[in-house]
């Protein structure tokens, strides 16, 4: 029942496959491509032409604003707004493989050189040095052969691309714009690739304790040191052949700088600009700030600089931003889970009366925002919100008065443990309360026993009783640290970052483009790592953990957490 016409080609396929398996590393750095010289393209200034080409590639829109028109599978018409070139070839143009279908690279560097079946990623210079004689599967594309491919699916060697590749109906000027964009896409390595080294940086904002800094820096530096030891084996015989050259050619040493910020957040962008100008980084790894990550997030968007898994529970929440990959939406996601859980209980007759009492802090506001926006998305009416001044605990009398007046079914108490004494007000009625595990921190299990049956906790991590066996792995990177602090989860999150980065570097191979780093993470399989139940990825998915449990605190002086929900994702 194989759907693919691969049988006649099996021997060549397996030979290629075995070659790749033996190499255990896929690709090779592409040489500089041949971008178009300055001037005009299709009668347009170069910058304008590039912007229009990018819109065609990413959004599937013609310069006229109309969708690009194409056909797949022989006779299925597709509008560019349904899916575009970048849906499959990805933003950097290095392609993808998924579901048994390989989407070939379409970036400028790769289009400008011939393609080979064996060791396809070696550069022409490397092939000459290695005296490889095998013929090219196709020659380098000219603009004419590339246009022919885009229109017919047939490459210059006469080979027909898979039927899932759209055959585009493009006018000559529009085709010129798209080809010009492809010629300039991922041509030269991004900043931060310096000789044999890939330079990274990590940002530490003011106000982070020395212990927390070390909880991130020690595992990061240990990983970098171990990675850099690997090249010591390149003199071995196994690296001397063609495959070994391909593998070692994809290897780069890593360097990690620490960018320490100072002063108020509004001064950080200028400091970050100065750091980046002084020591260009390929990407930011982790990073840690006590407050909102948004200033650093916005800098990364502006500088087109990837930032991988900062240690923050206050990320910027966006459906469209590209450059920062987070573990989760943090506090926002807990508020989101409360909304989803309550809505699930209520359906189909939503009559629940809900109040939000919100601590006037970034954390409280993020929780409230997550609830508010998700509640609205679920079609529910807005709920009253009361802002509680930061540093002023919620008074028992105030909560009693509020409950007596409003008679809510549920009150969302987005405050810390300072509200515990006021919770006694709950025992006078049937109102249930929601609190955030992150906001309560280590005080979670000190929740007053008389109200435990009326209080639900949004808990964004794996159940504590199941966590130990996953977190233990993080200790493998802790040399130099006495012990891991399970409450901050900084070293475990850094461990998870390292695992994802390690895979991404292998998958990126020697195609050192910043967008390609993010593309490769987007194509990773789901990961089961410390802290979060599951980290999942996909092109453009920027929050890897997407759910949350609802818990209650069990009885007794050393209570367990009792899981009251499935992993809430809808």
């Amino acid at each position: 029942m194989s759907g693919w016409r691969a049988v006649p080609l099996l021997s060549r396929a397996l030979a290629g496959a075995l070659g790749l398996l033996l190499l255990a590393a896929p690709a090779v750095a592409a040489p500089p491509g041949k971008p178009k010289p300055a001037g005009t393209v299709a009668g347009l200034p170069v910058d304008n032409a590039l912007a229009l080409g990018e819109r065609m590639y990413r959004l599937g829109l013609l310069p006229s604003g109309e969708p690009m028109s194409s056909v797949v599978n022989g006779d299925v018409p597709v509008a560019g707004t349904a899916f575009s070139c970048s849906s499959c070839h990805l933003r950097a143009g290095l392609g993808s493989w998924e579901g048994g279908i390989v989407t070939l690279p379409t970036n400028g560097a790769r289009l400008a050189i011939p393609r080979y079946w064996k060791f396809p990623n070696l550069s022409p210079e490397e092939r000459r040095e290695l005296k490889l004689q095998n013929p090219a599967a196709r020659p380098a594309y000219t603009d004419e052969t590339l246009a022919h491919l885009l229109r017919t699916g047939r490459d210059p060697s006469g080979y027909d691309m898979h039927s899932v590749m759209p055959r585009y109906d493009l006018s000559d000027p529009d085709m010129a714009l798209l080809i010009n964009y492809l010629r300039n896409l991922s041509v030269r390595p991004s900043p931060g690739v310096v000789g044999d080294t890939l330079r990274f940086a990590t940002v530490i904002a003011p106000g982070v304790s020395e212990e927390d800094q070390q909880a991130m820096l020690v595992p990061l530096n240990n990983y970098v040191a171990r990675h850099n030891q690997f090249s010591a084996g390149f003199g071995n015989r196994m690296y001397l052949g063609v495959g070994g050259n391909e593998m070692s050619g994809a290897y780069r040493k890593l360097a990690l700088s620490v960018w320490r910020l100072s002063g108020p957040p509004e001064t950080w962008p200028a400091q970050l600009d100065a750091f980046l100008a002084k020591e260009p980084a390929f990407a930011l790894l982790g990073g840690i700030a006590p407050g909102e990550w948004k200033p650093i997030h916005d800098f990364c968007e502006r500088a087109k600089l990837p930032c991988l898994f900062p240690i923050t529970d206050l990320p910027a929440v966006s459906d469209t931003d590209w450059y920062t990959q987070y573990f989760s939406k943090g506090y926002y996601q807990e508020g989101q889970a409360a909304a989803r859980y309550l809505h699930g209980l209520d359906d189909p007759n939503p009559t629940r009366k809900v109040l939000q009492l919100v601590q006037d802090s970034p954390e409280g506001k993020a929780l409230a925002q997550g609830f508010r926006e998700t509640w609205a998305e679920l079609g529910r009416a807005a709920v009253p919100e009361t802002l509680l001044p930061e540093g002023k605990p919620l008074a028992l009398a105030a909560l009693e008065e509020l409950l007596a007046r409003e008679k809510p079914s549920t009150v969302l108490l987005w405050t810390g443990s300072s509200a515990f004494p006021a919770l006694a007000a709950l025992t006078q009625g049937a109102t249930g309360a929601f609190l955030s595990a992150r906001l309560l921190g280590g005080q979670l299990t000190n929740l007053p026993e008389p109200v435990r049956s009326q209080v639900w906790i949004t808990y964004p991590y794996r159940e504590p009783k199941l966590e130990a066996k996953y977190s233990l792995y993080a200790d493998t990177l802790l040399g130099g640290l006495k012990q891991r602090n399970p409450e901050t989860r900084i070293s475990t999150r850094t461990y998870a970052l390292v695992q994802i980065l390690r895979q991404a570097l292998m998958d990126m191979d020697r195609h050192f483009y910043r967008d390609n780093l993010l593309d490769r993470i987007g194509m990773q399989r789901d990961q089961i790592l410390p802290d979060y139940l599951r980290l999942s990825f996909g092109p453009g998915q920027r929050y890897a953990s997407k759910g949350c449990f609802i818990m209650q605190v069990g009885p007794g002086p050393s209570p367990s957490l009792l899981r009251k929900s499935e992993w809430v994702i809808h």
Binding site: M1, S2, G3, W4, R5, A6, L9, L10, A13, L14, G16, A17, L18, L20, L21, P26, V72, N73, G74, D75, V76, V78, T81, A82, F83, S87, C88, L90, W97, E98, G99, G100, I101, V102, T103, L104, P105, P120, D155, Y159, D160, M161, H162, S163, V164, E377, L378, G379, G522, R525, R534, S536, G538, P539, K546, G547, E566, W567, I569, H570
Partner: protein, 192 residues
């Protein structure tokens, strides 16, 4: 239905060939077609409007139904399967036939009702095409029930299932279909 071991070998080999781009350069592959009997599991899923949907009620209603497995950020198969659905809806608009198109998410963590609504909008889906998500355990049950289980969404494969309303049997199509082939299969199933 048992999968052909040679097909499994070739699929695996194709994954190894990521560096060579070998398969992407092939001619359009033919699809395979078998007749199957499936028992729809008793699960409640969520559609693009956030409404709960009993899958068994939906699929066993006696109305013509077509089912596939997709996810919102898929890079290859799903966009093309969905283009096929969209095109079929356009063709069906000119006929009295009311075929219910159902897509079940294999990335339930990311495919929220909002994501699914946006996805259907991109394909200009008309009423009669539902995109369903749900608890991971329930999605696994659905995939298992249709012999479509994959442990990870990146390993999925193109599958279209057409339910014959008269016999209750399912036509299982493995591979990609052209528009004319899709219509022909619908006719064979008696739903056009």
């Amino acid at each position: 239905m048992r999968r052909n071991p040679w097909a499994t070998l070739l699929t695996t080999a194709s994954l190894w060939l990521s560096g060579s781009g070998f398969l992407a350069a092939q001619a359009p592959p033919p699809y395979s077609r078998t007749l199957e009997t499936y028992t729809v599991p008793e699960v409640v899923l969520v559609n693009q409007d956030g409404a709960k949907v009993k899958l068994k009620t939906l699929l066993d209603s006696g109305e013509p139904v077509i089912l596939d497995f997709i996810f919102g950020t898929c890079t290859t198969i799903c966009p093309v399967l969905s283009a096929g659905y969209a095109n079929l809806q356009t063709k069906l608009a000119a006929t009295p036939s009311k075929v219910h198109l159902v897509s079940v998410s294999i990335d339930p963590e990311n495919d929220t009702p909002k994501v699914m609504r946006d996805y259907l909008k991109r394909y200009r889906a008309k009423p009669g095409w539902d995109f369903l998500t749900g608890r991971r355990e329930d999605i696994d049950k659905v995939m298992n029930a249709f012999n479509a289980y994959i442990p990870n969404k990146m390993s999925h494969y193109p599958l279209t299932l057409i339910r014959d309303p008269k016999t209750g049997k399912w036509i299982r199509i493995y591979g990609m279909m052209s528009s004319s082939e899709f219509v022909a299969e619908c006719r064979k199933a008696g739903i056009l």
